[in-house]
């Protein structure tokens, strides 16, 4: 039970007055980010990241991860009250959450959503507590080929598990790798893709790209949809909360399934959004109330919210243990670790025990704080949503511009942000996935380094990726995932020919 001891130590690190205050601040900011259109977990953290450079890494990550929890909670508020998913992973929550609000059961729906989120996150944190150290210990034996194979697996699984066109996934992902190559090559010191510009020496910062894609792009989309906030009012009082809690235990099977789906989708880079849809779909098929789904069934709120939160939390496991983030938001947090001078990956568990266990402990505390905050402040956030879009939109663009500028104190970054805003808008409309692009941009250099080192080890032969059972197994799985969309398309075509 080494983990429990480490965890207790972590609580000691996390439970200072300053850190607890930062937790509250983070959650409130996070819910705000989750509620407002155009600001989400990933770019909200990207904007705030430069402000944390002066804090100690532990305090900084506690605040930033709390923003993440807050954003996860916040998405549910807009879905249920306004039928507008504040975040992509809360789309499935609108299906039953909004009908419940229309029937005057908004308080119940919100309580169910928040409690489900809390349970999902808690389940995932427990999994991280016991699994992450094991994974890290295992990964300590990894050499460059193993690392490259794991990167390959992560990226191929985007292609294999994505819903859209595999070619679009590949193109977007490789665009990320291409952008990551801009600037000085870390190994040889050569300048790549800078074309004589000193401004491009720094490279294209992924924070700027994230702010553009998810911030500006989202604002443009929101404008196009001509959003009007027509919300239901919400009152949550203690009676509603306890009444709802009394009903929740009968959904234990749905919750458990949602937790498992969420953890699985979070660890593999599927992410919270598909997890929430999958969990909703499975619950609809299995539950005996399935035929009522879509008409305001509480189970239909619990299922996607629990899974989304479990996935969102589980996405931090590969980030901590392997240095491979499971979601764009985790990727931004990973970028933060690099900026604070921490090398994400298995060594973190050996060299930075305080940091890792402080973070894990803060996940427990942050979610408890989160549940309390959201249950008590819903009316406040619902009121914020009633501020007209013509005030919110320019303010968000100003916030994004400041965020992009502070990354490197460069105006070029603000222009790049606008450019990627347009890219984000077009990509969203044409169904190009953005998550693989962001992940490729963050991991590009590391993936390239491990590839180069592997190639040096083998004198340029790709066979090193099959040199032992472990690396061979991972590489083969990666290739299968990569080819999966094409295999299934072929099978589909053959079946059609037979019919």
């Amino acid at each position: 039970m080494d983990e429990l001891q480490s965890l207790m130590h972590g609580f000691a690190v996390a439970l200072t007055l300053q850190n607890v205050l930062l937790m509250f601040l983070g959650i409130v900011l996070g819910v705000l980010i989750g509620v407002l259109p155009g600001l989400g977990g990933a770019n909200g953290i990207a904007i705030l990241l430069p402000l944390t450079f002066t804090m100690s890494p532990t305090s900084a990550i506690i605040m930033l991860s709390c923003i993440y929890w807050g954003a996860l909670f916040g998405g549910a508020i807009t879905s249920i009250l306004f039928n507008i998913p504040g975040e992509p992973w809360s789309v499935a929550t609108t299906f039953d959450g909004h009908p419940m609000a229309q029937q005057g059961r908004a308080g119940e729906a919100l309580t169910a959503a928040f409690t489900g989120s809390f349970i999902g996150a808690f389940f995932a944190v427990v999994m991280i507590t016991f699994l992450a150290p094991l994974v890290a210990e295992f990964a300590l034996k990894f050499g460059p080929p193993e690392y490259f194979a794991v990167y390959l697996l992560a990226f191929c699984s985007f292609v294999g598990m994505g819903k859209g066109s595999p070619w679009k996934t590949i193109a977007a992902m490789m665009l990320g790798f291409g952008l990551a190559a801009v600037g000085m090559d870390t190994v040889t010191g050569q300048l790549r893709l800078t074309f004589g510009s000193t401004e491009l020496l720094r490279g294209v910062d992924f924070l700027v790209v994230v702010i553009g894609l998810f911030g500006i792009g989202e604002i443009l989309l929101t404008m196009e949809e001509g959003l009007e906030f027509k919300g239901r009012s919400a009152k949550i009082n203690a009676r509603v909360v306890f009444q709802t809690w009394a009903q929740l235990p009968k959904f234990w099977a749905t919750s458990l399934r949602a937790c498992l789906i969420g953890c699985w989708m979070g660890v593999t880079p599927g992410g919270a959004t598909p997890a929430s849809f999958m969990s909703y779909g499975v619950a609809k098929q299995i539950s005996k109330n399935g035929h009522n789904f879509g008409k305001g069934e509480m189970e239909g709120v619990v299922a996607p919210e629990t899974a989304a939160h479990a996935a969102g939390t589980a996405a931090l496991l590969p980030m901590l243990a392997l240095g491979i983030p499971g979601s764009p938001t985790a990727a931004v947090l990973l970028g933060g670790l690099l900026i604070w001078g921490l090398q994400p990956g298995p060594l973190l568990f050996v060299e930075q025990k305080d940091f890792v266990w402080g973070l894990i402990a803060s996940m427990y505390l942050g979610n408890i704080v989160g549940l309390i905050v959201v249950l008590t402040t819903v009316p406040l956030f619902a009121a914020i949503l009633r501020i007209p879009f013509s005030i919110i939109a320019p303010v968000i663009i100003v916030v994004c511009a400041i965020g992009a500028y502070t990354v490197n104190n460069a105006m070029l970054d603000v222009w790049l942000m606008m450019l990627f805003g347009v890219v984000g808008y077009v990509f969203k409309k044409l169904d190009y996935p953005m998550a693989p692009m962001v992940l490729a941009l963050v991991l590009g250099d590391r993936a390239e380094d491990s590839f180069r080192q592997s190639m040096l080890m083998s004198q340029g032969s790709v066979s090193i990726l099959w040199s032992n059972w472990l690396v061979g197994g991972i590489s083969t799985a990666a290739l299968l995932l990569l080819l999966w969309p094409f295999i299934s398309a072929l099978r589909e075509r053959r079946r059609r020919v037979v019919l």
Binding site: W167, M174, L175, E225
Partner: protein, 168 residues
């Protein structure tokens, strides 16, 4: 924003946009491959040359973009769907163009004044607020940002003549 009398005619159809984006991907791939080739994309005396990894990145983008281009051309034969309708496009431009003007203004007058003006103009012309309210909100946000970044976080943001005149 949500006026009912929106213009529903398409500005450009989805198939055309697919082709344009695929072509842009190809152009990006060409640039990446060209520059990587210039740096050396082969196997040098001390291992892979600096352009080795990016070259293949570019190559994969090029292949993917050609496939997407072909798929886009095929899409042309199907019934056309609008990528964006005129009314929607107008709404998007109404946000995008002032935002670009705002970024340009930052270059000249600093971020605080530019932000205050941008918010005020946006509120008055798009939100149909009175100038008084627009300017109040704009100036408050500008001042708040100034105090937040210059005083509390000591993060220098771009400043213009006003800040300089005040001695910052």
């Amino acid at each position: 924003m949500g006026q009912p009398e929106k213009d529903h005619r398409g500005v450009v159809d989805t198939a055309t946009m697919e082709i344009v984006v695929a072509a842009l991907f190809f152009a990006f791939a060409a640039v990446v491959m060209f520059d990587s080739y210039r740096l050396g994309a082969a196997w040098g005396s001390d291992g892979p040359e600096p352009g080795y990894f990016p070259f293949y990145t570019g190559l994969i983008i090029a292949i993917a973009s050609v496939v997407l281009l072909v798929q886009g051309v095929r899409l042309c034969r199907q019934p056309r769907a609008a990528f964006v309708e005129r009314g929607q496009f107008k709404d998007v431009l109404v946000v995008l163009l002032p935002a670009l003007g705002y970024v340009l203004a930052i270059e000249f007058v600093g971020i605080y004044l530019a932000s205050a003006c941008y918010i005020a103009v946006f509120m008055v012309f798009l939100g149909h607020y009175t100038w008084k309210r627009g300017v109040t909100v704009g100036v408050s946000v500008g001042l708040f940002a100034f105090v937040l970044f210059e005083r509390w976080f000591s993060i220098p943001l771009p400043k213009g003549f006003i800040e300089r005149a005040l001695g910052f």
